[in-house]
């Protein structure tokens, strides 16, 4: 397919699709969904920080009681966990039959 040709848009309800799926999830297939969802999520996050700041009456004692600490921690912790997957995958991933080879336990059964 050439680059100029337009890809046919995925129909909201493809043949054989469950009606509940069309009802619940078809709105997610729009082109703008991810962008709108990310913006909405960001606004909710910022609003929650603003509300926390507005509602906090106690004096700030240390980093953990600062408004937005959980937001920053959640973002960094999640990113750290995910990005650790790159080196760990290289270090720990083996082929599917790793334990089934002759030197593995299944191999010894043969």
């Amino acid at each position: 397919m050439s680059e100029n040709e337009k890809k046919p848009e995925a129909p909201l309800g493809e043949p054989g699709e469950h009606p509940l799926s069309v009802l619940l999830f078809s709105w997610m297939r729009g082109k703008m969904f991810l962008r709108v969802f990310a913006i909405a999520l960001g606004l909710v996050g910022l609003a929650s920080i603003g509300l926390e700041f507005w509602l906090s009456h106690k004096p700030i004692k240390g980093v953990t009681s600062m408004p937005g600490f959980y937001a920053g921690f959640g973002f960094i912790a999640f990113a750290l966990a995910v990005l650790s997957g790159w080196p760990l995958g290289k270090l720990l991933r083996r082929r599917e039959d790793y334990y089934e080879t002759r030197s593995g336990e299944a191999g010894r059964d043969r």
């Binding site: 493809e14 054989g16 699709e17 469950h18 509940l20 799926s21 619940l24 999830f25 997610m28 991810l34 969802f37 990310a38 999520l41 960001g42 909710v44 996050g45 929650s48 920080i49 509300l51 926390e52 509602l55 906090s56 937005g68 600490f69 959980y70 937001a71 920053g72 921690f73 959640g74 973002f75 960094i76 912790a77 999640f78 990113a79 966990a81 995910v82 990005l83 650790s84 997957g85 790159w86 760990l88 995958g89 720990l92 991933r93 083996r94 082929r95 599917e96 790793y98 334990y99 030197s103 593995g104 336990e105 299944a106 010894r108 059964d109």
Partner: protein, 594 residues
């Protein structure tokens, strides 16, 4: 028997007994209706028995065996919620497994559930050990259920851990009873606020062995891999029943005997963190759930170690909520396995189009385990987090738990539903799960929401009710608490979207992830092989020399005796006659002079 006597018997009998008895009839149920009645009816009767128990905190049934008083039924506010959760899980399993008929698996699963319920309601160490071992033996049949060569090997590895745990507990009990003469936990030590919790001194004879036995079943770090090894390899129903009982029974036992033990705080904290890293790179989604189970049990173990009333409440509430949402997540992956034949992320994606109910229930389970406000995980985990935050000495532990909370969102909140039901479209369009599976998932999902929206009833049943109600009224729904949790989850989700957009999220790849099991599945065999190599070389050299000598003799014999060999060579008659005379002469000489 009159109605009063029946009610009296029901109120004074360990609820696990009813599930055990129902299980014994399951293999003889010829039609599905009878099977359904037994598999759901057994837990239902157990529930009635539990509700009608005559008094919490007293011995309702006991028997004397070999001079030991075994307390067969002693419900209290710690065992009540564990027992209730186990009974609900047994009923859910009964409904979930109605679509297929496997008398062996059904019977052993019911026996397993019955043994677990029995274990939480007995009142002494010896009875606990007996029920503990029954759970070990019956659960092995769940691992064996696929009936493949691989499942047999997995079951043997699983059995080694389960029996080792039992042996350690038995050895510890023998030492403890020999030294103290006490078996009933109500008599072992002073109780916490009237409830026998954390009754055993770690310095008592045998206590460390008992703790180690409990630790194996709770999947402590380094002995955790039996869980990730066995659970993902069983059938679609096997993983559901396995996820509910063994580890939570261990949490119950830890809370009963070792609440407040400082070691457990760190063990639990480590348990919450390390599975996060394995779950990120794991391709098999049921194995991801197994790591997630490890992580969640870590929260409970940590809370048991903290040992305050709020923390013990948190451990129990978390165990209750966890049994529901973990069963729900395993059920949804079981439905995928049943319809698609695989739970590997690389084989899945886009299943929401034809399995929307399963998707929806999975999303409820994901929201619950991620502790989204108004779902069960939030009301349960909050107590653990608050209890750890309350002690400044546990600041690092609290940070570890907070990190693990973000990790849970990654592997169970996002990865499971996203890669199975959304993500890249695999093109697979399987049928929706059978009705009985959907019904079981629907009930579990409803419970997750019910606990999250109306936690009051759960809090009322917690071991330390006053501490629970204080937390409910002054902490749980406060704006900062809810906002902080929302922030954690929203910004973690934004991190996921950013990493996906920048293609920094590691793509799912086929393969196995090596963990500590490598030590006994590859490391130990390789070590034995390497250390035996010099001997094998020597043996091979001697064998080769013997083979060469044998070959030479064989060749010589062929040359001598073969049809064309030396002894068959045609010689002139005169030579034969001379040779015959020579032999005759030799015989004559021997006979004359011998």
């Amino acid at each position: 028997m009159t109605v009063e006597r029946l009610a009296d018997w029901l109120a004074n009998t360990n609820p696990g007994f009813f599930i055990l008895v129902a299980a014994l009839f399951v293999p003889f149920a010829r039609n599905n209706a009878v099977r359904a009645i037994l598999m759901v009816g057994g837990p239902a009767v157990a529930l009635v028995a539990l509700i009608s128990a005559e008094g919490l905190g007293s011995n309702l049934s006991s028997v004397n065996v070999l001079g030991l008083e075994l307390i067969l039924y002693r419900p209290d506010s710690l065992s009540f919620l564990f027992g209730l959760a186990f009974i609900i899980a047994a009923a859910l399993f009964g409904i979930y497994s109605l679509h297929r008929r496997d008398p062996l698996q059904d019977t052993t699963a019911m026996l397993y559930a019955g043994a677990a319920v029995t274990a939480v309601f007995v009142g002494d160490l010896v009875s606990l050990f007996i029920a503990w071992e029954l759970t070990a033996i019956t659960s092995v049949f769940q691992v064996l259920a696929p009936r493949s060569q691989e499942s047999v090997r997995t079951a043997m590895r699983y059995l080694v851990f389960q029996i080792s745990s039992g042996m350690l507990v038995l050895a510890g009990i023998c030492m403890f009873v020999a030294a103290t003469g006490q078996t009933q936990f109500a008599h072992i030590a002073p109780s916490m606020a009237g409830l026998p919790v954390g009754v055993m001194d770690i310095n008592a004879p045998g206590a460390v062995l008992i703790l180690a036995g409990f630790g194996i079943k709770a999947a402590f770090p380094m002995v955790h891999n039996w869980l990730q090894d066995a659970y993902p390899k069983t059938t679609e129903t096997g993983a559901v029943v396995l996820s509910a009982f063994t580890t939570k029974l261990a949490v119950y036992a830890l809370a009963r005997y070792f609440a407040g033990l400082e070691w457990l705080i760190w063990i639990g904290a480590i348990m919450t963190v390390f599975p996060v890293f394995f779950a990120v790179i794991e391709n098999d989604l049921r194995r991801v759930l197994a790591y997630s189970l490890n992580n969640q049990v870590g929260f409970m173990v940590c809370a048991v170690g903290i040992g305050t009333q709020l923390a013990v409440n948190g451990a129990v509430a978390h165990a209750f909520a966890h049994i529901m949402y973990k069963a729900l997540l395993f059920m949804s992956m079981g439905a995928v396995l049943y319809r698609v034949g695989s739970t590997k992320a690389t084989d899945l994606g886009g299943l929401h189009r034809t399995m929307p109910w399963t998707t929806l229930f999975c999303l409820v389970g994901a929201a619950s385990i991620s502790a989204l406000p108004l779902f069960s995980g939030f009301v349960a985990k909050s107590m653990v987090m608050t209890a750890s935050h309350a002690d400044p000495a546990l600041f690092v532990v609290w940070l570890m738990l907070l990190f693990a909370s973000a990790g849970v969102l990654e592997h169970s909140g996002i990865k499971i539903p996203y890669f199975a039901f959304f993500g890249h479209d695999s093109g697979k369009r399987p049928q929706e799960a059978p009705f009985n599976m959907l019904l079981a998932m629907g009930i579990a999902a409803a419970l997750c929401i019910l606990i999250g929206v109306m936690p009051g009833w759960l809090y009322q049943l917690l071991p330390f009710e006053r501490a629970a109600s204080e937390f409910l009224s002054s902490d749980l729904w406060t704006a900062p608490h809810v906002l902080q949790q929302v922030q954690l989850l929203v910004f973690a989700t934004l991190a996921f979207m950013l990493l996906q957009w920048r293609q920094l999220y590691p793509a799912e790849q086929p393969g196995v992830i090596i963990d500590v099991e490598w030590l006994w599945r590859r490391g130990w065999p390789d070590l034995v092989s390497a250390t035996g190599r010099p001997f094998r070389h020597a043996t091979r050299a001697v064998g080769a020399s013997a083979d060469a000598a044998g070959n030479w003799v064989s060749r010589l014999a062929r040359q001598v005796f073969a049809p064309e060999g030396w002894v068959s060579v045609k010689v002139p008659l005169s030579v034969t006659a001379v040779a015959s005379l020579a032999i005759l002469g030799l015989v004559l000489a021997i006979s004359l002079f011998a």
